[in-house]
Symmetry: C2
Subunit: 672 residues, 2 copies
Amino acid sequence: MAKKTVEIKSDEKRLRVIISGVAPEIDAGCFPIKRSIGENVKVEADIFTDGHDAISSVLRYRRESESNWTETPMEALVNDRWAASFEVTELGSYYYSLLAWVDHFKSWRRDFEKKVNAGVDITIDLLVGAQLVTEAEKRATGADAKQFHVWGAELSDKSPKKLAKRTQIALDEALFDLMIRYPDRQYVTYYEKELRVVVDPVLARFGAWYEFFPRSMSPVPGRHGTFKDCEAQLQRVSEMGFNVLYFPPIHPIGRSFRKGKNNNPQCQPGEVGSPWAIGASEGGHKSILPELGTLEDFRRLVKRAREKKIEIALDIAFQCAPDHPYVKEHPAWFKKRPDGTIQYAENPPKKYQDIYPFDFETEDTAGLWEELKSVFDYWIEQGVSIFRVDNPHTKAFPFWEWCIGALKKEHPELIFLSEAFTRPKVMYRLAKLGYTQSYNYFPWRNTKAEITEYFTELTKTEVSEYFRPNLWPNTPDILPQYVQTGGRPAFAARLVLAATLGASYGIYGPAFELCDNRPRAAGAEEYLNSEKYEIKHWNLNAAGNLTEFISKVNHIRKENPALQSNESLEFHPVDNEQIVVYSKATEDLDNVILTVVNLDPHHIHSGWVELNLRQLGIEPEHGYQVHDLLTGARYLWRGARNYVELNPQFVPAHIFRVRRRIRSEQDFDYYM
Amino acid sequence: MAKKTVEIKSDEKRLRVIISGVAPEIDAGCFPIKRSIGENVKVEADIFTDGHDAISSVLRYRRESESNWTETPMEALVNDRWAASFEVTELGSYYYSLLAWVDHFKSWRRDFEKKVNAGVDITIDLLVGAQLVTEAEKRATGADAKQFHVWGAELSDKSPKKLAKRTQIALDEALFDLMIRYPDRQYVTYYEKELRVVVDPVLARFGAWYEFFPRSMSPVPGRHGTFKDCEAQLQRVSEMGFNVLYFPPIHPIGRSFRKGKNNNPQCQPGEVGSPWAIGASEGGHKSILPELGTLEDFRRLVKRAREKKIEIALDIAFQCAPDHPYVKEHPAWFKKRPDGTIQYAENPPKKYQDIYPFDFETEDTAGLWEELKSVFDYWIEQGVSIFRVDNPHTKAFPFWEWCIGALKKEHPELIFLSEAFTRPKVMYRLAKLGYTQSYNYFPWRNTKAEITEYFTELTKTEVSEYFRPNLWPNTPDILPQYVQTGGRPAFAARLVLAATLGASYGIYGPAFELCDNRPRAAGAEEYLNSEKYEIKHWNLNAAGNLTEFISKVNHIRKENPALQSNESLEFHPVDNEQIVVYSKATEDLDNVILTVVNLDPHHIHSGWVELNLRQLGIEPEHGYQVHDLLTGARYLWRGARNYVELNPQFVPAHIFRVRRRIRSEQDFDYYM
């Protein structure tokens, strides 16, 4: 379909075609859309002209490094809407735009056919057609030009007995096809913007993240864990089906105002402090806490992980403990108080004296920006390509746009996960200006109405073009009330929701596997004895762990491409508010997954689901099989309305593969 | 509230505030919004910054001719949305934009108060406040600077016994108010666009149009009507309550291929032809058909009409009869066929040989554009300020944008009504690029669902910012099936709908008053013996005419400001599909009109309406009166749910004035 562009002239007054309402286009083209390698960009636009003339339009696109555009024709849908798509096959930026023009040959051909059918006189119309063909001859070369010449001459031949022959040529599809290849682009409307697509690795779209604290990974209780201990965990993490292993900050931890266990402002001797209080005499954001090991150890861990197809994600938290070397070396980067001390973080009346925020209004913006960017550069050199950025919403937006833009220009494979748990417009802005993925409100979307509304917003609106949600049912900061009160069935249900609603999801692993649901206090969403402030020793083989269940879910995700992206998500009505049902499908409907979750961790629930069969690719008159990939059970269903029942004490969810071709019980595998 | 802007510096890296999602803003600011004199422009935007700092924002606006901006503070709504408004008081263009900045004093004041309330140490905070006040002193002059100086000194006074006094000053509203007047605008984010408002006369928003053919206005059957005859009609038109009188084209009518009665391609001698076949040996678009009178007659008619508060609207149809002088004088403006003849209008296989369209791809674009614009200029000189433009969608869009823009720059009072009955996006585009008002799909929106959906689109979406509908239940081209079959009750219902759904509406008068509903053929939407092709003699006093009813409706429109704009339109549910109920209200809810229409012209219908009381300004626990302005009947209603019943043979509609203050029958006027 696609071909290289031809030369184009223009004249504004004669540009009769309008191109508007282009989608996707974020904030009038201020921000790029996002895709991962191998995905399509479907572009739509309103394209029309005055009067009744036919028009033609092409979508054009190019990689940032190329100057030549590739073109692909737009097709008319309905109501003046046109569409075309292209596939992105390489990392980095692509640009796309549109052009359209009045197509006199198309108009002529359409009207000529009507006149022939109505039996009215067409002798002058044939001469008009001949003119158009003769003009196309001038635009063509070689055999095509010759062919035009022959047709042009025949169409011009006024001898009465040639009329039938001329009419036949005029309506010849071969003429039409050749004319379309040599359009008259004298007066072409160019869409005024070149819109950008950022193409990320597949892992930006589809990945399973596992978080643990390296310092808790020692097999010996009481000993500080090391990167070597982490290496020993890689096999287990890989077997569970995770492909990103994310660590809280690995840097030296400040000593002044260090927090004790359970966020105690009074730290006892020997307490390890929070990894987010970054920087001490040993170094800052480019150093490693000595207890964890050496830079060599870290580099080897990254390499070993990659051998098991696991990427190590680092936490970048741009804030300093009072002992951070920056504090002395770059006092201009911090706000001073009238008494000469440095302004610590506050949420009045609460004080966070262990944390100094950077002052993004510093006179030394240039120095601060370059240094912060160099932190990423440093860890990229050590082999890291994924960064989970802590509280990006408390740093200036222009910094992120510049920093991520500059980094991704050199390293288009980078993935930045925004940890901004804040107001929606701030979260969306961070995504627009460069963040690859984003934490989101999933931890607090628990009811059917909440889940349906939120994931419809994330997948069915423009938001889906730039905001990729990464779904975490828990984090070291967040122990949602739902799992506090619901116990193991609640953890299992939230895992299935995260892993099937989100192509990208993650868990704060050990606490999740062991269904740790003890809050710091009643009503609090924080963990009791939080790992943020102390070293833990997890017994991951403890009874009741979810390890095998998690492995199974991750395996299902890998086997089923429907679960590897979010655009196809569709909710189906069920007559029970405690059951949520949704499907995902590949574009060719070859892989269709229907997930059913009982949201009540305490009781068995049943209901009648009303499926949107068209979305599942099912013909209403035929039966079909739903195969529960969690339990292996198979059900023969027919029509839109079917019964579901789930016991949370057993498994709180079905993950059905919908198998369309199997139409009766005799066709089931187990009958063969 | 509003004040003149102060000087502003900026530095991009430190611009921490984001302004986005500005509304109204049409197609990223490519097109202006529309207002009429005295209306408000309410501007909203998403405004936020990183972190927890407080921000301030102002809306600024100026007339096109001014270089100074006027500012008015934006107020925070919810979810990072801010709003402010300004009133437009003069014809022509205004511009508006926004700016916002991090407001360190506001942040400090908010945090200081929290700390005071929590009883924590505030001695250093007082010194921070003193610094901020001292900086403000530098920005101020005169008494304000002195006042800052006093406060700054007191806040800095470290003697312990001053603490209470200093705290009191820090929290003093007077300090806050003065600080707000001298903001620190060192790092201000300017919204990058200046958005335009076109301010039109009130008649652009609110007007009642009446159309007749001047040639049919002779009191003597068989004689060609004249402008003098039209003068004699002004009193009647004025008494009926119309303020725009619109004429089909008044130019010489072509003789070649002239159409006969009922669009007969064979014209009989003496037949008058269609006024839209413009141009003959007597002249073209700047000439008057001699039978109508002289230019002097026309100018006097315009003057006499204006004395009665009626504006004459002219029809501008840019197309030529074959005898039009342009055809000889400017052959380049028309498309030639290979046989040397000029291309006439076609809708294959139909031919319109009496009409030559202009070729907007002519080499002489400049000449054609200037000449067409000069047609408007000519009639403006004769006193015309309203133009109904025939089929604008068959002329190039760039021409209209240029032509209307240039004309309105010199004559901002002009009103252009677009007669584009075509696809929605084309109609909306014409409105965006300059048309003041637009014909629309009203003639084909007859059921409750159709009416509700269409008028919700027109009044509750962005469309309302640029597309002003003018509602016509009939035109010389359109005799809708609904009135063909429904007779007089259908005409009355459609009149009420047009006049209350649309602040602007119009009727093709004589045919409407007399309920002429005879179609050219069964299923056709055209009139039998259409006035387009012949002179008619209307007996406007015939029995069953709607004249008095129309007068009453127009009177109600004039008395009730709620009906003079469209934004407040709200539909209310009724449990009968044949009854539609909607309200309009002034912003202060002082004038509230509730319209109830029985859409079935054949049967009595009744139903229970479920009012949105809040929209009507009614407290649910109090009774209220609805006063039918059509019949004078008054009903005492209570609560949201009330009974309505309408007999179409009597009056098919209620136009209720909702009177909130009258709470029991004893308060009614007729009891006094």
